[in-house]
């Protein structure tokens, strides 16, 4: 954290994207989180991904609940819409907003407390409904704002800063999301932007509920020996199954790969998501094998990262509800009230 505003001056070669914006134009207010918080790195990754995709800031809605992670939407995309909901209710508010205006990009930002405890039910239903959104959980395994109690995602057997061992089972958000039918599930680490930024880009491009679990060390309360969410522990136990090398077909393919090491996943808009496999046996398009694989690796104490599951034929809530293409909030009385003649016709059909 700092008291100073980030100076407006920037590198002389700072590039502009297709819209003429620089990366700095996607920044928000100065962060008030602790210095070294993993959440700030995630904010930086979101800024980078949105700049790279040349997303129009006014076409983004950031929604969050309560907690350190839920403060972060103030620190990125300063020119976008924002909604800070009550604790754990972000998924419901997001669902409502999405129903009202399907044209915006919905960024749900939450934490392990907000999504795995108080908002667990809300989280579950937004995922299973297939709301078209990017749901990011900034997962540090600890209640940082209340000084370091274990959260529901803290690993059993891990040690708190005060030396207490966690005796309760942990919730694996990725497993839950897979089970609930999320069509894009990924896990990453705040300290690995090379992996995280392409994952956020892919999640934004995905149609349907995209879930991203980002391990984000709490530098103040969960970065010690015995923690399983510290920078050192995550780096030692991080097992990436794949890397996203490019997302859009319009991106030039510059690298040749040996056969079997690449998995191409077609996207709804005709583009292709190309995954470079780190683990040759991993198939990101099969939900059942993915869940088995994750269970096995978790047992060995490994943290599997990468794009874990993606459904190329995903559908979203609007598809299920068969809503019109025009956002509901743009429909006026003329669209909604077809007039007396039509009413007569409908009534006649009922007689």
């Amino acid at each position: 954290m700092t008291y100073l505003l980030k100076p407006k001056l920037h590198h002389p070669t700072l590039p502009a994207n297709r819209l003429g914006y620089t990366r700095r134009d996607y920044e928000g207010k100065i962060s008030t989180l602790c210095a070294g918080c993993g959440h700030d790195s995630i904010s930086a990754a979101i800024i980078q991904a949105c700049w790279e995709l040349a997303i129009e800031p006014h076409k983004v809605a950031k929604l969050s609940g309560i907690g350190c992670s839920s403060k972060t939407p103030d620190y990125f995309l300063g020119n976008s819409h924002g909604f800070n909901t009550v604790h754990g209710r972000m998924p419901s508010v997001l669902t409502g907003a999405n129903l009202a205006n399907r044209e915006l990009l919905y960024l749900g930002v939450s934490g392990d407390g907000d999504s795995a405890s108080i908002g667990f039910g809300q989280f579950a239903h937004s995922i299973r409904r297939g709301v078209n959104m990017v749901y990011v959980v900034e997962n540090n395994g600890v209640y940082g704002l209340t000084k370091g109690q274990f959260s529901a995602t803290a690993d059993k057997g891990s040690k708190s800063k005060r030396g207490v061992l966690n005796s309760e089972e942990s919730i694996d958000m990725v497993m839950v999301a897979l089970q609930l039918g999320a069509t894009f599930v990924a896990r990453s680490f705040s300290g690995d932007k090379a992996q995280l930024v392409p994952l956020i880009r892919a999640a934004i491009e995905h149609k349907g509920s995209a879930f991203l679990d980002v391990i984000s060390p709490c530098v103040a309360f969960n970065n010690h020996e015995g923690s399983t969410r510290s920078y050192d522990y995550v780096r030692e136990h991080n097992e990436a199954v794949n890397r996203i090398d490019f997302i859009k077909t319009r991106d030039a393919i510059t690298t040749d790969y040996a056969p079997g090491t690449v998995q191409d996943v077609p996207q709804h808009d005709g583009s292709v998501l190309r995954l470079r496999k780190v683990d040759a046996g991993y198939d990101a398009s099969n939900r059942v094998t993915a869940m088995n694989y994750l269970q096995q690796r978790a047992q060995q104490g490994e943290i599997v990262t990468g794009l874990l599951y993606v459904n190329a034929d995903s559908e979203d809530l609007h598809h299920h509800l068969n809503t019109v293409d025009i956002p509901l909030n743009q429909l006026n009385s003329k669209d909604l009230c077809p007039g007396l003649a039509v009413l007569e016709k409908v009534n006649a059909a009922m007689r």
Binding site: P7, K8, L9, A16, G36
Partner: protein, 623 residues
């Protein structure tokens, strides 16, 4: 790349671009901070120690520091159409007005005489002769006198100061400023003799009590170059050499000039000549130069000053003849030329073939260059000269082929400027001090580098790390209605204290260095994310050229170093491009472990005296 050795005295010195560019290596950010704090006297003394003439240089310096200033690289270009959507600030790229801030220190200081060194009670018995009383000699005198040397300065002019007094017009530099700062030096117990030296041999051969242990030649480049074209002799009554004419004006021998004046030459002397002419009756004054306007030697701001006073500068005109009738100058003719560059990039001025151009005039001032002249140095006294009739002088030690004779200022390597003369003076003083102590003059003392953490609290630093977005402030000019009527009225009025403060706040504090400690870093990326200039990268190591290309922002300015850490836990290295760092300290504020610290690198040159010697005088033990 190998990890950067930040212990090398030059590493952080180079980051302080202004100080590195200054021939005398004045600690610029240090005194600018003092100005911002209103500590003008302290700021003045920092300057006085380093460049000897803060008030004079604050008005007349050639300011090599300003083109080097980092501020000139980090400010935004005026918003271009291509990124009109961008909301970032739109300032123009301008350096800090370092030179004029120096003047602020001089203008608002209190009486500092009590802070000056006292003439030593006990002399060391060594006698030094300084020939010429210009800036080089006075710098030598200032460095040596407090160390007990008996210093005698000779000059053919009755008052000390050299070209500062004789050539710089009063409307740029008031005489009181010269008297004050030259007075500080003469007050150190220096003997000044109004005496023209006719023979170096005679001084070298002095015996007994009169003999000098070392001699310093600081006679400048006293001869104006002439222009030998037809009509020069016939019209000579109305043609003058610029620097001679300026000194005649300075002494009051010349008080008038004709209405129509042509000044030949494109250097700062030409600018002084034309502006002086405007004040002595020249209504129609023009400057005519051979080269293009851009390539003129004069400093851009001096050209600007001349144009502001209604003086046109005509370029690409080569003088052909002085036109005269009945012994009276009537005008000058010129050939129009254009610049062509050969394969080696050398410029040639070739005639355009257009008809010659004639400008009518009543008087001409020739300011086409200055030359050295040593008629008083006998060619058989041991001083070796090169084929351009310049003495052979060692560039570091300033020593000539006669070990006890040293040169400095324009006399050493041809015309430069005051700040170079001062720098030469410091070096020569060190050499003389070592020479008189029987030491090898080639063994030069390193500068003193002092690293001090600026951390005061969690977000508190002992420097102001907020970056001002102000554009460079302009020094106000006095109305030309007033200045053109009186040659002694200074044109520039200097900054008022508030503007001085605001201008001082534009300084980026480049001497407050980002110091990285590998063992404390947890690689959380906080510094990478917060850095406004994208200066920090964590990446796999590589060769410098290749590594520079794959940083967060490419490090294309090869004159600026990149700072590389030893290998981190993830086998990567931290790489920081020093080029456009704002020294805002946000990396250190965001660092959770204190791996980044902001440390002030105070680099102070070593001057003549015990500290420059190989054998330091025995340290006195505390009682």
């Amino acid at each position: 790349m190998k990890p950067t050795d930040i212990g090398a005295p030059d590493y952080f010195h180079k980051v302080v671009d202004c100080q590195w560019a200054c021939p005398a290596h004045t600690p610029v950010p240090e005194y600018i901070r003092l100005i911002a704090q209103g500590r003008y006297s302290d700021a003045y003394m920092v300057n006085w120690q380093s460049n000897v003439f803060p008030g004079i240089l604050g008005r007349t310096c050639d300011r090599p520091c300003e083109p080097a200033c980092r501020r000139g690289r980090v400010e935004d270009e005026p918003a271009a159409a291509s990124n009109a959507a961008s909301s970032v600030s739109s300032a123009s790229k301008e350096p800090v007005a370092i030179c004029r801030l120096k003047r602020v220190a001089a203008d608002y200081k209190d009486d500092i005489t009590s802070r000056l060194p006292k003439p030593p009670a006990k002399k060391n018995g060594k006698r030094i002769a300084l020939i010429g009383a210009g800036p080089a000699s006075l710098a030598v005198a200032r460095d040596l006198a407090p160390n007990g040397y008996h210093v005698t300065v000779f000059d053919e002019v009755a008052k000390a100061g050299g070209m500062i007094r004789t050539q710089i017009p009063r409307f740029r530099l008031p005489e009181e400023v010269i008297d004050e700062e030259v007075g500080y030096i003469l007050g150190l117990g220096i003997e000044f003799r109004h005496q023209r030296i006719e023979s170096l041999k005679a001084i070298l051969e002095m015996k007994g009590d009169d003999a000098y242990d070392a001699i310093f030649v600081g006679t400048g480049a006293p001869r104006g170059r002439d222009l030998d074209v037809p009509g020069r002799k016939e019209a000579s009554k109305h043609i003058h050499l610029g620097i001679d004419w300026l000194s005649s004006v300075s002494f009051g021998h010349v008080t008038k000039i004709a209405k129509r004046v042509i000044v030949l030459g494109g250097g700062n002397t030409a600018m002084d000549c034309c502006r002086t002419s405007r004040r002595l009756g020249g209504d129609d004054v023009k400057v005519i130069v051979r080269s293009g306007f851009e390539e003129m030697k004069a400093s851009p701001w001096e050209k600007e000053d001349a144009i502001h006073e209604g003086i046109p500068i005509l370029n690409f005109l080569v003088p052909k003849a002085f036109l005269h009738a009945n012994g009276k100058l009537t005008g000058m003719s010129f050939d129009k030329v254009k610049a062509e560059y050969d394969a080696k990039g050398r410029r040639n001025l070739v005639p355009t073939g257009e008809p010659e151009q004639v400008f009518e005039c009543d008087e001409v001032l020739i300011a086409v260059g200055q030359e050295n002249s040593f008629p008083w140095i006998e060619r058989d006294c041991g001083i070796e000269f090169d084929k351009w009739a310049m003495p052979k002088v060692d560039e570091k030690t300033m020593q000539s082929s006669v070990p006890k004779v040293f040169f400095g200022g324009d006399a050493a390597f041809g015309p430069k400027n005051i700040i170079w003369a001062v720098a030469h003076g410091h070096e020569a003083a060190i050499s003389i001090d070592k020479f008189c102590n029987g030491e090898d003059v080639a063994n030069r003392p390193p500068p003193m580098v002092n690293m001090m953490s600026q951390k005061m609290g969690i977000h508190e630093w002992s420097y102001d790390n907020q970056i001002s977005t102000d554009n460079r402030f302009k020094v106000p000019w006095r109305d030309t209605q007033i200045t053109l009527k009186n040659i002694k009225i200074e044109v520039e009025m200097g900054f008022d204290p508030l503007t001085g403060f605001k201008e001082a706040q534009r300084c980026l504090n480049c001497d407050v260095q980002t110091v990285f400690t590998r063992d404390l870093c947890i690689e959380c990326d906080a510094c990478v994310d917060i850095c406004p200039m994208d200066s920090i990268t964590f990446a796999a190591n590589g060769e410098e050229k290749e590594l520079r290309g794959r940083l967060t922002a490419p490090a294309d300015n090869l004159t600026q170093d990149i700072y590389v850490s030893p290998e981190l836990k993830t086998m990567r290295v931290m790489v920081k491009d020093e080029d456009v760092c704002l020294h805002c300290g946000l990396c250190a504020e965001r660092c959770p472990t204190g791996a980044w610290d902001m440390q002030k690198s105070l680099i102070q040159m070593t001057y003549a005296g015990p500290s420059c010697r190989d054998k330091h005088s025995p340290v006195k033990k505390a009682a």
